[in-house]
């Protein structure tokens, strides 16, 4: 093939591709010889690149992708770790690809193809020449053993993911049978094999990895229209999926404690051989004559539609064990049988993937059931029934509904582990790039939290950890000079507390410097020069918008997000964040979150005839004001003095435009709510009690208002409105307080 300088194609390389190249560059900055960090992300970005096939791209680009694919596969195949050489080559590659991407618009010639890169010019050669599994077909079947202790978590994920992938493959095959050229489907099957390969490679499961690799190669050719789909290929895919399915199920069985640690053997050499033949463009050794699938239920392949319904006549692949031709593999085969037996029993346990919308509606309905149940129980006519048996039955009903509710709620709960463990990698990368030594200690990873919250917790945590490593932890020499150990420690913990969850992130770094914060805050115009503030108030200024203490913007921190964003994220989850800091000894962030977003602890307050719900988490205190506690400023703004601090009042009834009952302020109740820095005293008529309420969206009609955060069905079946505390606290009060001077002095 003609190598070097073809004319650059106009606008062939899509901008997303350049972005991926950039991301690979970022990952490359952190890879270390002998480590596998970054391997999977790079692999994924590379896969993305391989899939971004916008217009025509320069041949050098395609070749570049191919050669990188070879290297990455080589690493995944082999040690799974980067080496000096592979890092150097990947870095060169990154530079080369960047320049290829750049050269395009100007129409300049392409950079020269580096000579020492293995020739990836010849398409048909790539797979065999780069990937060392080429000979495995002639060898004994590979066995692979799981490292259950170390990889338990990953294996579980891999198992679950693989089951999905296999399903994708099988469904895809069904489509291909009637429409063999459907590019979308071919692509999805390709991607499924590829993802499988990546996962297996990461877990050093060589046999399934190799198999997936071969199948992927075939699919890739199909994808590029270099090979067309025929019955032999469909057979091959199904056979491959079956074999991978056997691996997956065996892994699943071991994860459930059956025969842990025993090697898993699934014959793959024949399929690999066929795949190679197919990749070479041979029609391949014809698969063995059609045979009825012995109905032993091992195959995960779905029952195919009747043959006449299929455009490409296909016979289904037969089970492998009997047809595995390599006699040398026989010795390795006996373990197959036990694996199959365990498969039969796999129906116990396991997971179901569920649409979250269904889950939400289940939770909703159960909430309604609880309400309906209490309506029945509270009904006066029902209460008049005097029958001990009936009372027992009602109690039984109540117990079942409440069990049902907690089960339904628990279905939304996931451990914070996932979110926490991602931070380990982050800390390592940040520490390496910042020339610091940092260890991350995790505690309470098993603490469960609403899935939606865990998902949204990631960003704030990342940002706080960045801050901690970049600005909190000192460089090793500075730490030693201060009499600390060279290695800094960051602790990330989660625990249940007061019906919510507390997440704490603390470090033993230099802490926040109140004096510097003060200077900065004055500089930024956040506080006045003569503002009297104690240290904790000063420290809390870091949550103010427009505040950032970062003096040097590092490559990872300082991306324009400040702690104010962190705080608004947390508050978006109905949570709170606080900071404590001791200069020189470290700082600690405490995040208080509700267990779930679906239910809140609410305070039901009465205003006139209306009832409103205020989230308990935002209530600081509530009290009946004494005469003289409320004063008026400029005859307009009312403030209440709470423990020596003046808090502005907001008369809720007037603000909402609804009638109130309390004749004077002394008859009313003041509920002090806070959001961020601001607090405000809401004047309500009465407190009606605390209760847990299931939050209901108010829907499209009310989406443009910010007065209400939602609604809830109350015990009597009517709707209570949940006030948006943030709005109440931030709304200007002055205009509403006009003409109330007399009231406040009453």
């Amino acid at each position: 093939m003609n190598a070097n300088h073809e004319a650059p194609m106009p606008s062939g390389i899509p901008p997303e591709a350049c972005e991926r190249i950039g991301r690979i560059g970022e990952e490359l900055a952190f890879v270390m010889p002998g480590e596998d960090d970054g391997l999977l992300p790079i692999n994924h970005f590379l896969l993305d690149l391989e899939e971004l096939r916008g217009g025509e791209v320069p041949g050098a680009w395609t070749r570049g992708l191919k050669v990188a694919r070879g290297w990455i596969d080589e690493i995944l195949d082999g040690s799974g770790k980067f080496t000096e050489t592979s890092i150097r080559r990947l870095n060169e590659w990154h530079a080369y690809m960047s320049s290829v991407a750049d050269s395009r618009p100007e129409g300049r010639g392409l950079p020269a193809w580096p000579l020492d890169w293995a020739g990836a010019d010849d398409v048909s050669e790539v797979a065999p020449s780069v990937v060392p599994v080429a000979t495995s077909g002639e060898e004994n079947e590979l066995t692979c053993s799981l490292n259950l202790e170390e990889d338990l978590e990953l294996l579980g994920e891999f198992h679950a993911e693989s089951l999905e992938l296999l399903q994708t493959i099988e469904q895809g095959v069904l489509v291909l049978e009637s429409n063999p050229t459907d590019a979308e489907t071919i692509h999805s099957i390709f991607r499924a094999f590829h993802t499988f390969k990546g996962g297996a490679g990461f877990l050093r499961l060589d046999a399934p990895r190799n198999l997936a690799h071969e199948l992927e190669t075939v699919l890739d050719l199909v994808r590029r229209s270099e090979r067309s789909i025929d019955s032999s290929i469909i057979d091959l895919i199904l056979a491959g999926a079956d074999a991978l399915g056997q691996f997956t199920r065996a892994i699943g069985a071991q994860l459930q404690g059956m025969d842990p640690g025993s090697p898993i053997v699934v014959p793959t050499s024949d399929i690999i051989r066929r795949a190679k033949a197919a990749a070479r463009g041979e029609t391949g050794p014809l698969p063995p004559p059609p045979r009825d699938r012995s109905g032993n239920g091992v195959s995960p392949a779905p029952t195919l539609p009747p043959a006449e319904a299929i455009a490409v006549p296909v016979h289904q692949s037969a089970p492998f064990a009997p047809e595995a031709p390599s006699s040398s593999s026989v010795s390795a085969e006996p373990p197959v049988a036990p694996v199959r037996e365990t498969l039969a029993g796999e129906s116990s346990g396991g997971f179901v993937k569920l649409d979250t919308a269904k889950l939400d509606s289940l939770v909703d309905l159960v909430g309604e059931l609880v309400v309906a149940q209490s309506m029945v129980v509270e009904n006066p006519e029902v209460r008049a029934i005097e029958s001990s048996q009936f009372v027992r039955q009602l109690r039984q009903l109540r117990r079942i509904t409440s069990d049902l509710q907690s089960t339904a709620m628990s279905m939304r709960m996931v451990p914070v582990r996932g979110a926490f463990q991602k931070m380990t990698r982050l800390v390592r990368d940040l520490a390496a790039s910042g020339g610091k030594k940092v260890q991350l200690l995790l505690e309470g990873e098993e603490t469960e939290l609403d899935r939606n919250i865990v998902e949204k917790l990631g960003d704030p945590l990342v940002h706080m950890i960045r801050n901690s490593v970049d600005h909190g932890i000192e460089p090793p020499d500075e730490r030693i000079a201060r009499g600390k150990s060279a290695k800094g420690t960051i602790r990330l913990s989660a625990a249940h507390q007061r019906g919510g969850i507390v997440i704490r992130l603390s470090d033993d770094g230099r802490g926040l410097d109140p004096a510097r914060i003060r200077t900065k805050a004055i500089e930024r115009g956040l506080i006045r020069g003569d503002a009297g503030m104690d240290e904790s108030e000063l420290v809390s200024l870091i949550f103010r918008p427009g505040f950032s203490t970062a003096e040097a913007v590092t490559d990872l921190s300082g991306r324009g997000v400040g702690m104010d964003v962190v705080r608004s994220n947390i508050e978006g989850l109905s949570g709170k964040i606080e900071v404590q800091s001791v200069p020189g000894e470290g700082s600690a962030f405490t995040i208080l979150l509700p267990l779930t977003l679906a239910i809140i602890d609410g305070m039901l307050v009465g205003v006139g005839e209306d009832r409103y719900i205020i989230p308990t988490l935002s209530i600081r205190e509530s009290f009946r004001p004494q005469a003289g506690m409320v004063s008026t400023i400029q005859g307009r703004g009312e403030v209440v003095s709470v423990r020596g601090r003046q808090t502005p009042l907001l008369r809720l009834g007037r603000f909402l435009g609804r009638p109130t009952r309390a004749a004077s302020l002394e008859d009313a109740i003041i509920v002090v709510v806070e959001s961020g820095e601001a607090a405000r005293g809401l004047v309500v008529d009465e407190l009606l009690g605390k209760q847990e309420v299931v939050i209901k969206s108010l829907g499209q009609t009310f989406r443009h208002q910010n007065l209400l955060a939602g609604s809830a069905v109350l015990g009597d079946g009517s709707v209570g409105l949940i006030l948006d505390v943030d709005t109440l606290v931030k709304t200007p009060t002055f205009q509403h307080a006009a003409a109330t001077a007399d009231a406040s002095n009453a």
Partner: protein, 176 residues
């Protein structure tokens, strides 16, 4: 510029089945396909600071849905709703997918009628005074005229959505 219809914006009324109901002395109709159910008038939780045609929200078996007052929406005089007053729950498809339920209070629900092309005509142009943008068309049935409403336009218009200005000028407070 002139189109056969005097009201070029109106989605034309199609023959089909309509649920008819009354507001005062007038009769209106909504396409049956948009009517999810009819429920008895129940306590409505008022939503503060909303335009007055939004009566509030109700709990429809666990789903909280807004309820509109069509009289207020059409700027008709307010009336006390009697025993026969109902809430018609209308289901509207969202452009973004999914659907929205909205209730409308009416004086009485009459019947479901089949209306065919000869009975239907487009909304007349009043020159602006009575608004015709909510109207699909008019139907003449046994001597009476029924106004057929366009559910999308009646229930999903811009007007519903924004917060009313703070009621600062509100004179009364019981506690002053």
């Amino acid at each position: 510029m002139t189109t056969p219809s005097s009201n070029p914006n109106a989605a034309f009324a199609k023959s089909g089945r309509y649920l008819t109901f009354s507001l005062g002395a007038e009769t209106y109709g909504l396409p049956v396909l948009n009517v999810r159910e009819i429920i008895r008038l129940c306590p409505i939780t008022p939503v503060p600071r909303m335009p007055d045609f939004i009566k509030g929200v109700i709990n429809l078996r666990g789903t909280v849905i807004p309820v509109l007052d069509l009289r207020a929406k059409f700027q008709m005089p307010e009336a006390i709703y009697g025993d026969r007053a109902c809430i018609i729950v209308v289901q509207l498809r969202n452009p973004a997918g999914g659907s929205t339920l909205i209730g409308a209070i009416v004086d009485t629900v009459e019947e479901v009628v089949q209306l065919n092309d000869p009975q239907l005509e487009s909304a007349p142009d009043f020159g602006g005074a009575p608004e015709t943008r909510f109207i699909l068309g008019l139907a003449t049935v046994s001597g009476g005229v029924k106004t057929l409403l366009d559910p999308e336009k009646v229930f999903l218009t811009e007007g519903l959505l924004s917060l009313a200005p703070p009621p600062s000028a509100e004179p009364k407070t019981t506690n002053a």
